[in-house]
């Protein structure tokens, strides 16, 4: 018998989750306060669409600026830490330890400094997303194969050429992995800080509706955050596909071979 492809299985699982989301509360297995039915949530989302849309705009605005800070500062400082041994030895242990701290405990300080408006969210989420971007940029630059640099020098590359044509392209895969993680953390940072102290944004809508036990509206806000994260993921994937075409070229070859190799013994085990 033919096995369904992983993609088909993924879609079936997704469908099953949606069906359960509708069926479980309707059948009274869980109270609607815990999980409101999917249709009820969607209806609320639609009827309050202007509220959610304006909340989303605030959140998007904060996420955009926070990502700018996280990525800009993360890449710039990561490049210095990764490229200059003295700075690396001085800073990397400190930064790595800081990364382990739950930075959310600093959020009250951010509100004291920047108020409860968007500024404190941007600052907090920017710092939150900064660490993985910086650490992976540093790692990406530090782990460049010495041979690449030696070969470029033997071909007469100047330092700017070395940076533009060897160091940056060689570091891109690792840096992108950091941007992906940092970007996701930035979204988390914004939503969490909105939930803690604020008067607008999607996170605020979650909190405010939870306090009045309006579960459909809480879940509607959660759906919006989910969509935001999915959009981000799709965007990052598109960037990765474009910039890492050379890796994909190989992966395609490798994966079809892997699949073939993996499929061959299947009849024996089935």
């Amino acid at each position: 018998m033919n096995r369904p492809s992983p993609r088909t299985v993924r879609r079936l699982i997704g469908l099953a989750v949606l069906v359960l989301w509708e069926a479980v509360p309707r059948l009274g297995i869980l109270p609607e306060l815990f999980v409101p039915p999917l249709t009820k949530t969607l209806v609320v989302l639609w009827s309050d669409r202007l509220i959610y849309l304006s909340g989303l705009m605030v959140t998007l605005y904060e996420v955009a600026f926070a990502m700018l800070i996280a990525c800009g500062a993360g890449i710039a400082l990561g490049a210095v830490v990764g490229g200059v041994a003295v700075v690396r030895n001085l800073m990397l242990p400190v930064v790595s330890s800081l990364y382990a701290i739950p930075i959310v405990i600093l959020y009250p300080i951010f509100t004291a400094w920047f108020g409860i408006g968007s500024e404190s969210k941007i600052a907090f989420a920017g710092v939150y997303g900064f660490f993985p971007v910086m650490l992976s940029t540093a790692a990406g630059i530090r782990t460049i194969d010495e041979q690449y640099l030696l070969a470029a020098r033997s071909m007469g590359a100047t330092l700017p050429q070395l940076i533009a044509r060897v160091i940056i392209p060689a570091a891109i895969p690792t840096v992108l992995a950091g941007l992906r993680l940092g970007g996701a953390l930035t979204i988390i940072g914004v939503v969490v800080s909105e939930m803690l102290t604020s008067a607008s944004g999607i996170g605020y809508l979650v909190t405010i509706n939870r306090t009045i036990l309006d579960s459909p509206r809480v879940f509607a806000a959660i759906i919006v955050v989910l969509l935001l994260s999915i959009m981000f993921d799709v965007a990052v994937r598109a960037i990765e596909r474009r910039t890492l075409a050379w890796q994909n070229a190989g992966r395609r070859v490798a994966s079809t071979e892997d699949v073939r190799a993996a499929r061959l013994p299947a009849p024996a085990t089935a």
Binding site: A151, T158, W246, G250
Partner: protein, 268 residues
């Protein structure tokens, strides 16, 4: 004691010796202080000749090659490439092929070959045409669009050789270029290299661990001692050219190989 190649008056005076190393010593400053890596190396490679350097691991062969490439400065002594000192890398005088092909994985084969030309600038079309001509020379004209990981080990080294030759330097330096290849590919690549050498008239300095490879390829084999590296012997390989695989089975080949082996073994 040192036999400097005696050349008749040459029409191109500056080109008589492509590579000259005069009294070169190198001291490496490591964690345990100064370590002498090379002592008093003298070496002359006439233009168009194929010289192979053999010696035990860590004897400073690679250091010597790095100096010939202008990637490292000797502590004392003089190095002339194409008649002039080489204080920094100059791909128009010296091309280098490394052990691991060190191709850039984000560039296709033809873009890798074009890389040195791209650093220098110039019309894009001309650059590409030149790179494609080099790929054709090494027998990879239909593989220009492939990325390095889509090529076999031997093909990668071919691309690497094409890259070393793309600026048409008179001297090609090769640091154990075939060491990572399997035996059959290694033999084929050696043979291919001789063909390319013959077609392009380059001066080659080639480092290897394989004595068979050394005798098969070289006009002259320089035998180096363990650290600090000195030149123990210069063995002229007077096997006729073009070389054939059959020669490896001859007594002459065996004797030359044995002579080099005795030199290396005696000093271990």
């Amino acid at each position: 004691m040192q036999q400097v190649a005696q050349l008749k008056p040459n029409p191109g005076p500056a080109r008589a010796n492509a590579v000259e190393v005069i009294g070169v010593s190198h001291v490496y400053h490591g964690r345990e202080g100064a370590v002498p890596a090379l002592t008093d190396i003298d070496m002359t490679v006439p233009a168009g000749r194929f010289t192979v350097i053999v010696g035990p691991s860590g004897c400073g062969k690679t250091s010597l090659l790095m100096m010939l490439a202008g990637l490292r400065t000797p502590t004392s002594g003089t190095i002339l490439c194409d008649g002039r000192p080489i204080p920094s890398p100059d791909p128009q005088r010296v091309g280098v092929v490394f052990q691991e092909a060190s191709l850039y994985p984000w560039l296709t084969a033809v873009e890798n070959v074009e890389f040195p030309l791209a650093l220098k600038g110039g019309p894009r079309g001309e650059r590409r045409a030149r790179a494609e001509a080099m790929l054709k020379l090494v027998g990879l004209d239909s593989f220009g669009g492939r990325y390095p990981h889509e090529l076999s080990g031997g093909m990668k080294q071919r691309v690497s050789i094409a890259r070393g030759l793309v600026q048409d330097p008179p001297v090609l330096l090769m640091d154990e270029p075939f060491a990572a290849l399997d035996e059959q590919t290694r033999m084929t690549m050696g043979h291919e290299l001789l063909r390319i050498w013959d077609e392009t008239n380059k001066t080659v300095v080639f480092i290897t661990h394989s004595l068979t490879e050394a005798v098969y390829l070289a006009d002259e084999v320089l035998v180096m001692s363990a650290r600090p590296g000195r030149i123990l012997d210069r063995v002229a390989i007077d096997l006729p050219r073009p070389r054939t695989y059959q020669m490896m089975a001859t007594d002459k080949f065996g004797q030359l190989r044995e002579r080099i082996w005795q030199q290396i073994r005696a000093k271990e």
